[in-house]
Symmetry: C2
Subunit: 202 residues, 2 copies
């Protein structure tokens, strides 16, 4: 079966700059579909259902798990987070590339269910650079930051299982690299209509 669009997974440790790089990338590529996660955590002021997240009740989320309607999911501190599979498949089937911005464990779950996905690992150039980012965003305690840094160290060990590695030194450069990768992956024979090309050569 021909795939029509690519599923591009942008992943990396907490604080790697996934969100910022994605935002910069979306500025130059407007034809992408950004996947929206589902969650059971409370909707915050200013957040829109279906835009920031799909806000679900616990039974709703658990029935999605049971019916395998999630590409990946995790329970983080008692709240569920996951990627609904249907919007992803719809976009891919109409030939749109889908961007999934998720953590490292989620990325490998997606690879398992969707082996043709493209895995991009994003990481700051060093532990101290990552530490600086985590401190700057000021959302975590020192203990939590230390835990995240240790986690990052172990996540890098998995980088060989990724298709691409981007050292996030400068946001614009990193975003350009993602754009290059997306454009390159659009040239995969599996994605193109080889049958109709062959017909044009008969």
């Amino acid at each position: 079966m021909r795939i029509k669009g690519n599923l591009i997974v942008i992943s990396g440790p907490s604080g790697s700059g996934k969100g910022t790089v994605c935002k910069a990338m979306f500025a130059s590529m407007t034809d992408l579909h950004l996947s929206t996660s589902a969650t059971t955590r409370k909707q915050r002021v200013g957040e829109q259902d279906g835009v920031d997240y799909y806000f679900l009740s616990r039974p709703e989320f658990e029935s999605m798990i049971a019916e395998e309607q999630l590409l990946e999911w995790a329970n983080v501190y008692g709240q569920y987070y996951g990627t609904p599979v249907e919007p992803v498949l719809n976009a891919v089937n109409r030939g749109q590339d889908v961007i999934l911005e998720i953590d490292v464990q989620g990325a490998f779950k997606v690879r398992k269910k969707f082996p043709t996905c493209v895995l991009i690992f994003l990481i700051p150039p060093s532990r101290s650079a990552l530490e600086k980012r985590l401190k700057n965003r000021a959302t975590d305690s020192d203990e939590e930051i230390e835990r995240r840094l240790k986690w990052a160290e172990s996540e890098i060990q998995q980088v060989e299982y990724y298709d691409y590695l981007i050292i996030n030194d400068e946001v614009e450069k990193a975003a350009d690299k993602v754009v290059n990768i997306i454009n390159a992956e659009r040239c995969r024979p599996a994605l193109l209509d080889i049958e109709s090309l062959m017909q044009k050569y008969r």
Copy 2:
């Protein structure tokens, strides 16, 4: 063993526009190494030894075959053509990407000897577009053109073995796609110094 540079093979039927696309691509990427072929055919006026080709005698070429100093070679109408392996390895080992512009049969021979190479298939959008190109360059008889068109039809059947397919509709667009592919392939974990990245996270 870590690869330091990529070997990028740009291939496609005779008349696909490989040379024109490569020229356009070299205008925007100056840090590439273009592989120079060796041949036993006579040096023409204006051609430089070591630039257009390495011009070799028949015994010189045959000793290179015997000593496995060629990445691929072929005998075309009684003249040898081939790719000396040493300059390719030297460039790759110093971290430079190498561009090889060769025919489809050569491309598969390179893949066999150098499995990590990147294969790009370039092809005009249709048989009639290819025919027009072949007629425009006015180097082949009608019979030869017909033979090349049939050949192209069979070469397209192999496209699934390529890493990338580029429909050469407009030279600039096709060259941009090659540039995207080269930049994307530079983000492969196998090409990057993961060991030193890991050290920066200890």
